[in-house]
Symmetry: C2
């Protein structure tokens, strides 16, 4: 257990996630991760093709954490099949999305850093990072239609519009002109976005 780490890959991912949490994608530097794991820089190359590959693993992890938050917030709302509950569920996922972005800006940014596929050679769609948040959202919208809360003819592309709104407000609050809003204004901004989506869908 001296020479062989035992579970280096996971240790590296953990270290890289910590780096990403407090500094975004640019902060995930390969050598720092290996240092944290108490190992030589090159050891990382036994588990990752290159730094982008490591970053991809962090990206994956970040996406999963986001999905997990969304699902947790969903679990707090009992689904009685009514349209109101369905709307509440949709709204809850949206809120959870934005709140994750605000609570973990570094991970959030890292989750959407997937430039590393243009030259991955894979058939596009395979081996790729799963967008679980997207699937959760789609399920909510399906539930909304099933509950009668949304006419089926409005279902098409609804996840696109909904996700665009929550993703956009997250980004704007983090890096855009809404950066310096106070907590209460921030809250109103989020509500306005969620209202607009609910009203506009």
């Amino acid at each position: 257990m001296a020479y062989h780490h035992g579970n280096l890959r996971q240790a590296l991912v953990d270290a890289a996630v910590t780096l990403a949490r407090s500094g975004g994608p640019d902060a995930v530097v390969l050598r720092a991760a290996t240092r944290e794991a108490g190992v030589t820089p090159n050891a990382a190359y036994r588990h990752f093709a290159d730094r982008d590959d490591l970053l991809g693993a962090v990206c994956q992890e970040a996406m999963e954490q986001l999905a997990s938050r969304m699902q947790a917030s969903l679990a707090e709302i009992d689904d009685d099949g009514s349209p109101l509950a369905a709307w509440a569920r949709l709204r809850a996922t949206g809120r959870a999305y934005v709140e994750f972005a605000l609570a973990e800006p570094g991970l959030f940014r890292t989750a959407f850093t997937s430039l590393a596929e243009a030259h991955s050679g894979l058939p596009p769609g395979e081996g790729r990072i799963r967008m679980q948040p997207f699937e959760i959202l789609a399920a909510c919208l399906d539930g909304l239609v099933a509950s009668g809360g949304l006419p089926p003819e409005r279902r098409a592309m609804a996840e696109t519009a909904a996700w665009a709104a929550v993703h956009g407000i997250s980004e704007l609050l983090l890096y855009g002109p809404l950066r310096q809003l106070g907590p209460e204004e921030r809250e109103r901004a989020i509500d306005k976005v969620l209202d607009t989506v609910a009203f506009g869908l």
Copy 2:
């Protein structure tokens, strides 16, 4: 004119913008810019505090290009003061925003890379990059209210919701799950977002 470049600062910004166009913020490397300008790396430090400062200039430039596209698209619609015209104007700015993002992904990403202020020491709001797109959008919404197309009580935070939507769809199309959409589906996605905003505001 041999030793003194004459207009090095602008030359560096131009080179940096070119780098950002084809590679995003990470591609704007100080030494590459000075190489392009035919000058020593350290010469850059006579005009910029550090690399982040140079990146800030690129960011500014990108934001201005975006604003200019929005305004150009606005100029194509004659404003007769009617609600319809006002809605068309709002929609045009939104389209222009997304189209700029798709046409210039590197610059678009760079425009929203403003981490360099947490420790700038300036009074927050001063010396900062102007968010002209935000102002253009706000003006459109004011025009919408003035034309009677939007009840004044819905005006509050409207630019937040509208911008969040267009920003979000841009980002999703570039880096999110909508990355591999074909041109026609992409078009429908954009329309859906714009419809949702128009309907939801």
